[in-house]
Symmetry: C2
Subunit: 213 residues, 2 copies
Amino acid sequence: MVTSTLGRDQRANYHHGNLEQAFITAATAMIRESGVEHISLRGVAAHVGVSPSAAYHYFPDKDALLSGVGRTLFDLLADKQEIAVSVFTGTSAEDARARFRALGRSYFDWGKNEANFFRLMFGVFCCLTPEGRELERSESRAWRLLEKSLNDLELTGAMNPALRPYGEILAWSVVHGATSLIVEGHLPDESFEAVLDGLELSLGIVHGVVKKK
Amino acid sequence: MVTSTLGRDQRANYHHGNLEQAFITAATAMIRESGVEHISLRGVAAHVGVSPSAAYHYFPDKDALLSGVGRTLFDLLADKQEIAVSVFTGTSAEDARARFRALGRSYFDWGKNEANFFRLMFGVFCCLTPEGRELERSESRAWRLLEKSLNDLELTGAMNPALRPYGEILAWSVVHGATSLIVEGHLPDESFEAVLDGLELSLGIVHGVVKKK
DNA sequence: GCTCTATCTGAACAATGTATAGATAATAGA
DNA sequence: TCTATTATCTATACATTGTTCAGATAGAGC
C-alpha cells in the first residue's frame, strides 16, 4: 500500500501517528483552558495516552514542548489577523483605516479570548532564542501585514508621513502594550477601543483627516 | 527595655526578626538573578536559614509569597520613576517634555536592567486579584506621575489637547508594550528611543511644536 | 522467518509544594 | 521565680513533578 520511499513517514505512524504533533496538540488544548503554569509533562502524556518518557524522544525537555506550542500559536495568531484584514478590500483611506483597526482589534481579541495562549507566547515559558525570535519577527506574516497596513494608510493619505518610520514599532507597541495591560487586569477592557482611537488620531491628525463619527 | 505594649512587635523578632519580610527580601534577591521560574520555596527558606514549613505561617502558599514580592517591586519602580522625574524641575514645554521622556525611559530601564523583576510584575506568577490591581492602578504613585506629566505637557502647549483624554492609557500602553517586546526579544533595544520619538511626535505635532535637535 | 532499529514503557531518582504533628522559646500570670 | 500558654518554628511525611535509563515491543528490510 505504501511504497518503500514512504517507509520513514509510515514508520512515524508507529503506535500513535505523529506523536510529536500529538504532544503539541494536546499541550495546546490543555494550556488553553488551564494556563501554562498548571501544565505538567506527565499530564500531557496521559492525555495523549502515552508514557511520560515518550516525550523525550521528540523534545529535549518540557520547555522545548512549550516552545513548540508557542510557535504554533504565533502561526494561529497570524491566521486570525490575515482573516481579519481580508474583510476590507477597498482602496480608500477609510478602508485602509478599517484594515488598520481590524489588525489591532484582532490582536486584542486574541489576547482577550485566549489569554492563556497570549501569556504563553509573550511570557517566560516560551523560550525561543533571541536570534530565532528576531528572525521570526522579520519574516513573520503578522509583521508583513502590519507593514502593508501602514503603507496603505500612508498611500491613501490617512496618515502623517512624518510618522511613517515609526509606524510598525509604534503600532505594535501600543496594541501589544494595551492588550497586555488589559489581559493582566491593569487596565479595564474598554481601554482598548480608546487606545485605538488615540493611536489613530495621533497618527493621522496632522493631515486633518478626522475620522468620521 | 521594651514596654508591654510593644510585646507583640517584639515577639515578631522571635528567632529571625520579621520573618515575613525576610522571606520577601530573600525571594526578591533570588528572583532578581535567577528569574521567578527557577525559584523554589524551599530554596528561599534555605537562604533565609529556616525550615520550608515556616513560610506557611506568613503566606498561604508560594503564589502569595510571589505576589508579596510583586507588590514591593511596583513600589520600587514607582521610586525609580519619582527620582527620574524629579531631575527636571522647570516649567517650560521643554522641561515638561524632558519629564515625560524621563518617565518613559525609567520604565524601560527598569524592564531592561531588571528583566526578571519586570517579568514577575507583569507575568503569570504575580497573581494580584483584578480588584486589587484596579485599585492599585488608580491609587498608584506611578499613575499619578503619569497624569501629572501629561498635564504639564498640555499646560505648556507641548501636546495636542485633543489627545489629552487618551494620554495616560496611550502613553502607558506604548511604553509598556515597547518595553515588553524588547525585554522578550521581539524588538531590538534601539527600538525604544525610536518609539519614544514617535510617541512624542504623534502627541505633539499638531501644534507644530517640533522637538529641537 | 530473522534481524535490526526506531519507538515506546517501567521503574527509579531527586526536587518540589504542602500538610500535620510536635518541639521550642518567649510571654503572662501567680 | 515558677508555671502555663501561645506564637513560632522544625521534622517528617506525602503526592506530584521533570528527567533518566535499561529494557520491551513492534514494524521494516532482507
